[in-house]
Amino acid sequence: MKWHVLRPLWLAIGLVVVILIARQFMVPEDFGVHGDSFTYNFYRLSNVQEWKDFPVKHQGRESCVECHEENVTTLNASPHAPIECENCHGPSVGHPDDVELLPIERAREHCLRCHASLDYPNHARSELPNVRDRTHKRRRECVTCHYPHDPREKPE
């Protein structure tokens, strides 16, 4: 072959070699097929551990009961027992060390999530105690009359 044909060919080959060498350094060692399928299991293995280490925010009432036993006992004996503490108080991560006080959701709209009457036939919402937002104590906060930890009681 003539020199003017070979010159760009060597350039192309050189480029491929450079890319292959760069690839050796840039692709992590644990990148590859981890499983039985190239289509679904071609990935960086250490990423699985990275997702496992993602911080947990909602810690459940088992962690609340350590300090707030009285409130948890009241809640557990009430019709509101299936509702998690963190549904109304927000995720408890960092509490009480970094976050001294957790927010308390007192908004009327928060209670209406379950207790607004939608008049749907044969529906789970209609079986809960419900109110019509437009006629029931308009714009008042529910918690002024209903104690959320035990809705059968009035707040102190």
Partner: protein, 256 residues
């Protein structure tokens, strides 16, 4: 070319054996047996949604956004709740404002007030990633940034994703979105950081009505697995062949 009878028989037998052997080698092992041999066979995560129990409070969406650091006011979410109201004329009114994050507290759907006397049936359908056995979103990833773990969950490698968006287009369920902060594709992963520690996903934890439950299909004693294997459950868009692993009780023909 000469060929003795001995040579002909030799070659015919050899050729037949050679052509039969590789085929039989494959048929001895069924795909399930092959998979069981290489996979971690102890865990396969699945999900059960009972639409009859859902009251549409939206606390699962709120908990998911807080747990997984999804910007609260951005119009993206890993899980969402759809409301279906079928009126007496057979028309379906469907909405999911902000993914149902703030619940459903009135009868207004897409700006239209629905007369309660005109409602034939109404229900809520929580949706999340189906963690498919044949995930189309993984097939299309050009860089290997999304993958299926040995326990069946599809994850996204945030360091490796280039944000091309192919997977977002490929998912038939529309569960993937572009994360506005990390600038990569994002999706529900059954709260992988929680289920691998023995905790429930945030949406399951926050559901007061047991409408959402997590199951390990490889554990025959798991009560939720028993429901999935013995009761009448359905999946979304079965015809796509993705083998979704979120099972629904009480699905309606109007649900897409």
């Amino acid at each position: 070319m000469s060929c003795s009878r001995r040579d002909f028989l030799k070659q015919a037998c050899g050729g037949t054996l050679a052509s039969v052997l590789p085929v039989s080698a494959f048929t001895f092992l069924s795909p399930e047996e092959a998979r069981a041999a290489v996979e971690n066979a102890n865990v396969r995560w699945a999900f059960l949604v009972d639409t009859r129990k859902c009251v549409g409070c939206g606390l699962c969406v709120k908990a998911c956004k807080n747990e997984n650091e999804i910007p609260y006011d951005a119009p993206v979410t890993r899980t969402w709740v759809e409301r279906y109201v079928i009126t007496n004329d057979g028309q379906a009114h469907i909405d999911s404002p902000m993914g149902g994050r703030d619940g459903f507290i009135d009868n207004v759907i897409n700006g239209e007030e629905i007369d309660p006397d005109n409602i034939a049936k109404a229900f809520f359908v929580p949706k999340l990633c189906n963690q498919c056995d044949n995930p189309p979103c993984v097939q299309v990833c050009p860089v290997g940034a999304t993958y299926q773990t040995d326990d069946g969950v599809v994850l996204v490698d945030r360091d490796w994703c280039i944000g091309c968006g192919y997977c977002i287009m490929a998912c038939p369920y529309g569960v993937r979105f572009f994360h506005p902060v990390h600038k990569v594709a994002d999706k529900c992963n059954f709260c992988y950081h929680r289920i691998t520690k023995g905790m429930n996903p945030a949406c399951v934890e926050s559901c007061a009505f047991d409408a959402r439950r997590i199951a390990n299909l490889r554990d025959p004693d798991d009560p939720v697995t028993k429901i999935i294997t013995t009761e009448r459950v359905a999946v979304l868009k079965d015809e796509y062949g993705t083998k979704p692993h979120v099972f629904y009780i009480g699905l309606d023909e109007n649900v897409r």
